[in-house]
Amino acid sequence: MRKAVTARPDEHIVRLEDAYKIYQMGRQEVRALAGVTISFERGSFWAIMGASGSGKSTMMNILGCLDRLTKGSYFLEGHDVSTLEDDALSEFRLRHLGFIFQSFNLIPQLTVQKNIELPLYYLGWDSSRSAERARELAGKVGLEARLDHRPTELSGGQMQRVAIARALANDPQILFADEPTGNLDTATGEQIMELLVELNHQGKTIIIVTHESHIAAHAPKRLYLKDGIIESIVGEADETH
């Protein structure tokens, strides 16, 4: 339905090929991911679901370039990022990815404005341009009046909005949200989900991780993980094994 919006409809923005993530726990080998192959289309909205220990957090970390595969390949924007070094992965996160977390993860000693500006600081933007961009994004999430506040002075919903504004600062292709409504009441959680849906409509690829089905229901496509492998896919898969 949003294929009309995406520039290159045939391109897969994310592609995992036979992905393994194996942890060594003493003598025991734990397979957090045990051979996952899947592709996400540009502009799609996916929910990754599963019980705790299913490997969904690991998958999120891998997709978010925070962690590396033990085995297999990961193509992001057509680049094989599974072989990249730490610095290059950082650079990838900085230029292409945005993150939203369950516990918001704002830096408490920085103002709302400085928090939103954080990615721009690492991108090397000058301060006046950053300030302008921060104001624009704060407006987008309805928090223009709170730019000079500290995160601790905000409600949970407001903090998550700031986090979203920060995640959007570098104009990322993909937005990752890890249990974005986990710390919010239902009504506020709904508002945040609506905001994400709207961002998806504007063309962002969105991947959320959740264990709540009513949150996952906002995503047209849902992937169920169990014991590190894909259990099922609901909605139209772009391409599976």
Binding site: N61, G64, L66, D67, D86, D87, S90, E91, F92, R93, L94, R95, L97, F99, F101, S103, N105, L106, I107, Q109, L118, P119, Y121, Y122, L123, G124, D126, S127, R166, N170
Partner: protein
């Protein structure tokens, strides 16, 4: 561009430090006192040695001073009886020194007599110095009024005298006193000049001149006072026969000073059957004093450096705690895309800012303390450029050295774990 970025990084660091004002202040104190003590100790050490070096320089670094002393055996045997003790340097010694040693440029014979001086109603116990005009070349003191002794004074055996500033003041002699008559003992001398006198003893070095000196031509002293002097001590009269009390020698080139001193020693040994003289070499003293100063500075500096080290460890300790405390922040920054070296820079800048500000405050303290010492106990202190630059440099270096490990720890924080960190 890079410049403004660094400025932003530094101001960010300062902002972070200001979040915990008391903690930052206390952390900084170690470096403040470390740098303060280095600067202060160097200043005190430098001041003490400068005083000694100045005194030695006043003796003249190319000079060798030979002084007559009563030999030890003479001293012990002369206590009971009254008899004549004959010792000291001779006119012959002076002639031999000035004629035979090639490296010697100038020699001055000195004959000393203690006499009372009378000017109108005032009396002053004088040390009458019979010498030649060359004295004033070797013991250089500014002329305050009139002139010093001249060759013609010596040739004519003119009864003229040059007073010191101190003596002149005690005798109420002024510019107008020049030309007036000073009575020394029972003899009349015309005052021809007044010179400044350093006088006395400082840093264990006896200067050749004293404050109560009155300089007269040597031949006049010889004719008027002879070579025999009386000293009345309790119970016995002592008679001494000394031709010359001192010979000051100036060597042409500094590098010949030490060998010349050895040569003089050899020569005197041959003609004196007892050791009734002391040879002192200001240059040797100078070298010794400089070596002592170096050792002194190294020891003081090392002690002070230990306090700097302690300050550095204090900083490291706090920064490690800060890294632990800010694990989550580091995780957030890393997730957003900060590279390891950017995290390292962030923490390193904080440490360097902390230690450098500590260094600057410590420098202020280190300048204040010696000033206070000088003010309170009149002890000279000298702040050298090195004494300022070195501690600042060291405090900056401490920031880097002791900041590197905490910063590296920060960079090694795993963002995945850090983001889960509560």
């Amino acid at each position: 561009m890079r410049h403004t970025r660094l400025v932003r990084d530094i101001s960010l660091g300062i902002e972070n430090l200001l979040l915990h004002k008391l903690r930052s202040f206390l952390t900084m104190l170690g470096v403040v006192f470390g740098v303060g003590s280095v600067v202060a100790m160097l200043a005190v050490g430098e001041g003490a040695s400068k005083e000694a070096l100045d005194q030695i320089r006043k003796l003249g670094s190319n000079n060798i001073i030979i002084t007559a002393v009563k030999s030890v055996e003479e001293e012990t045997t002369s206590t009971t009886q009254s008899f004549m003790s004959i010792y000291g340097l001779t006119y012959e010694d002076h002639r031999r020194l000035s004629e035979t040693m090639k490296t010697i440029k100038k020699t001055v014979p000195v004959k000393l007599v203690r006499k009372e001086g009378f000017l109108k109603a005032r009396v002053l116990e004088l040390r009458v110095v019979g010498t030649t005009p060359i004295w004033f070349d070797l013991v250089q003191r500014p002329v305050i009024a009139g002139r010093v002794l001249t060759g013609s004074d010596v040739d004519d055996q003119a009864p003229v005298t040059v007073l010191t500033e101190y003596g002149a003041r005690r005798l109420l002699a002024t510019d107008s006193t020049i030309g007036q008559t000073l009575r020394i003992g029972s003899d009349a001398f015309k005052i021809v000049g007044i010179v400044k006198s350093e006088g006395g003893e400082a840093a264990n070095i006896q200067l050749p001149d004293q404050q109560v000196d009155a300089y007269i031509p040597i031949d006049v002293a010889r004719v008027y006072y002879g070579d025999i002097s009386f000293r009345r001590t309790s119970g016995s009269d002592e008679r001494e026969m000394v031709e010359l009390h001192q010979i000051i020698v100036q060597v042409d080139r500094t590098e010949d000073v030490e060998s010349t001193a050895k040569g003089i020693e050899e020569m005197l040994k041959r003609f004196h059957n007892k050791k009734d003289y002391i040879i002192s070499v200001p240059l040797a003293l100078l070298k010794q004093a400089e070596a002592t100063k170096r050792t002194f500075n190294i020891v003081l500096g090392s002690i002070a450096c230990i306090s700097l080290l302690v300050g550095g460890i204090g900083i490291m300790n706090i920064m490690l705690a800060s890294v632990t405390e800010r694990t989550r922040e580091i995780g957030i920054r890393r997730a957003i895309g900060a590279k390891k070296r950017q995290i390292i820079m962030q923490f390193l800048i904080e440490t360097v800012v902390l230690s450098t500000i500590g260094g600057i405050v410590g420098l202020g303290l280190g300048i204040l303390i010696p000033a206070l010492i000088t003010y309170l106990v009149a002890m000279p202190t000298v702040i050298t450029l090195w004494g300022v630059i070195l501690p600042l440099f060291i405090s900056g270096a401490i920031g880097i050295v002791f900041g590197l490990y905490p910063a590296a720890r920060a960079a090694e924080v795993d963002p995945i774990i850090a983001l889960r960190h509560e």
